[in-house]
Subunit: 424 residues, 2 copies
């Protein structure tokens, strides 16, 4: 343990030193490192495959399920995708150094704000090794340093990828320690990483709810946390029915596992008889189980071959991530908003409506990171929002909310330009 | 203790309910409440004086020092100042509901961000009862609810002020529970307030470093914390000497107690002989003790009647809040920046220079909430920056940095406007 503490302190100190250099790094050097990384990723297929094969073999030996083994795999297609991601981030504008809102004050000073890096972020993630490159590339472009702690089952792959990152940084004249991977699988390293306020400014965990709750509870620095996505679609009293069917179908069934998939459908009582049997037929055809309130249950009884059950109170609070949806008939927009704010997870919620006033009330009063009108909840994503990349999705309100891109890794400091002004 | 837990949970639940109503409150109602509060503050002098007198008498009886008793006093002038503050906040634009950066995406959806309240903030503060009104008025304008915990020595004054706030909220048709004052002096209430993530979104402590460190350590929600202000002035190799003398004098001596007063002076070696004896004479005349490095000490020896001592290593890290200044000669801008980033408290630091390149490097590379060129550090203040009001000053980088006004009590949520778009 003494050795581990010394190791982590060394990593932290090196990250803090590197962060100072990265904050002042020219845009051209940061882009050069990103393009070098893309090139190395494409050129290093065989070496990476050898490292990756060690993790894959260990995973198979440990009897991991095939989908879990697949998530570890670094094939040529995955490498090309992450290389392309590095090139896209290189092509984006540099967020650092932007000065905004400069205003002259009556005292004579000019006051504005400059965008600067946060400093050092720690990232804790599971399995997929491509997250190593995503985190590294966002750190480089945003002028931060980062300390990465990947899953133990991906250690050899991650070490090989981190070596490419270090080489690319050095090629561009930047400190290799700007991106460090923790090279031990000792679980105590996580506990140390999240409790080093002198060296780490923010922790970004990516993984299951259990991991994130544990980290949030024990962290001694801020955490950009992404808990569950219990997302809603609400079909309003006046609505384009055909459009609502297409959007609700997409929001639920386009993919069941993402956090922005809809888990609960609310329907205004005036549309229940018209809408529910039709969406019920679509869900039935796709094998989606419907857990309905008594009124929705009655409206859905006519659907042939429906997997239909009465909802329990727990259903309103559940993120299924599966072909299951809870369905409730509500009497008003007020009831819909209150239900979403009470039972939802403040992630993403959509209204389907033709009424402008209701659309505006929903946008303003639903307390979620993403609020949508007549669009699928599946759009809640950094790439779809045009952020270019996404380090995570925040279900918090503090600092960053919703998809977090480069700007979420920065902060604004105050800049005062004077000509010898003094305070009276 | 069971009673206290029940009481605090009740306060928390009421705040959460009120926050929902405040988030949707019209600007006109919020301004009406602020103007009503200003009127009631001016009209309630005698009633407030009676409540205030109970606190003053208890303070005198407890043998508090005269300056501490004075900080408790709510006289007509103080009341007029806080009433004026309410009117100024009423006159400011409403930050809530602002939608910015709406862009059309290739998929057809439009994506932007809407400014919304954080929800509920808890404020913990000592002595001065006018903070009760400052916090209440910022909460009202920003559409938040707040739970206030003032100092026990000001309880009667605070309760009387909180009653005026509640009446003003009700007069405007807003929930009285939007601003609640904890009506017990039980210290355990603070421990509960900072550990109710279901009801409180952020804690803002105002007080001594000990209080803030304790709260930051124990809080289960984010804290906007203001630790110390070890602020620097750096006199560069090329400088307008007359201007530098005026600014450094002001930064140190205009007032000794504020957090934005300069505590440490760095002077480039090329200016040491010209600058130090002159600023030394000014400091000596004002009785400011100088704790100097060996080179600065040598340059200051010629100053008559100087309170001069050799600095110890601890001096570089000390916020004196007193007529004492540490002084160091440095060989380069690099050394100055490194010294400030290492020993400073990331609060406010200024460069005095005529060199544009050095000014720009200082702004970018000094890692402080406020960085200044040719201006007194004493300007680091919400009012001087044009924020209209200030709930506190953050020495953190996360969320809000430096003086925190209305915007620091808000967050941005994503808004998606569609016409039936779905994710492919």
């Amino acid at each position: 343990m003494t050795d581990l503490v010394a190791y982590m302190n060394g990593v932290g100190e090196a990250a803090r030193r590197a962060a100072t250099l990265m904050a002042a790094a020219p845009t051209s050097a940061k882009n050069q490192a990103l393009l070098a990384l893309a090139r190395r990723l494409r050129d290093s297929g065989p070496a990476l495959a050898a490292a990756n094969e060690r993790d894959l073999a260990a995973a198979r030996e440990a009897g991991l399920d095939a989908p879990l083994v697949d998530r570890l795999r670094l094939d040529a297609k995955t490498l090309d995708t992450v290389a392309l991601g590095c090139e896209q981030i290189a092509a984006m504008p540099d967020p650092i150094g932007e000065i905004t809102g400069v205003k002259r004050r009556p005292t004579g000073i000019s006051v504005g704000q400059m965008r600067v890096p946060l400093g050092v972020f720690g990232m804790i993630y599971e399995s997929r090794p491509n997250v190593t490159i995503e985190a590294a590339s966002l750190a480089i472009k945003s002028g931060n340093a980062c300390i990465l702690r990947g899953g133990s089952e991906a250690l050899h792959s991650n070490l090989a990828l981190a070596a490419l990152v270090a080489q690319s940084l050095e090629e561009a004249g930047l400190p290799a320690e700007a991106v460090q991977l923790i090279n031990t699988t000792d679980r105590a390293a996580v506990g140390l990483l999240i409790a080093m306020p002198a060296f780490v400014d923010v922790i970004i965990p990516r993984g299951g709810k259990g991991l994130i709750e544990r980290i949030s509870r024990d962290a001694r620095v801020p955490v950009i946390k992404h808990l569950d996505g219990n997302c809603h679609c609400y079909v309003d009293a006046q609505v384009d029915l055909e459009q609502a069917l297409v959007v609700v179908d997409n929001a639920k069934t386009q993919k069941y596992s993402p956090c922005n998939a809809t888990e609960s459908l609310l329907v205004h009582v005036d549309q229940a008889a018209a809408f529910l049997p039709r969406i019920g037929r679509i869900f039935a055809a796709k094998g989606v189980e419907m857990r309905a309130c008594t009124r929705a249950f009655a409206a859905l009884l006519e659907v042939p071959d429906a997997k239909l059950a009465l909802a329990t109170e727990a259903d309103w609070d559940t993120e299924y991530l599966a072909p299951i949806i809870s369905i409730k008939v509500v009497d008003s927009l007020d009831e819909a908003i209150a239900h979403i704010n009470h039972h939802g997870s403040h992630h993403t919620d959509a209204i389907l409506t033709t009424l402008h006033v209701n659309a505006m009330r929903f946008l303003r009063e639903v307390d979620s990171a993403s609020v949508m009108v007549n669009a699928s909840t599946r759009f809640a994503d950094g790439f779809e929002y045009g952020l270019g990349a996404e380090i995570g999705i925040s279900t918090d309100k503090f600092h960053a909310r919703g998809p977090v891109g480069l700007e979420g890794l920065t902060s604004m400091k105050w800049v005062v330009l004077g000509q010898g002004e003094i305070r009276q």
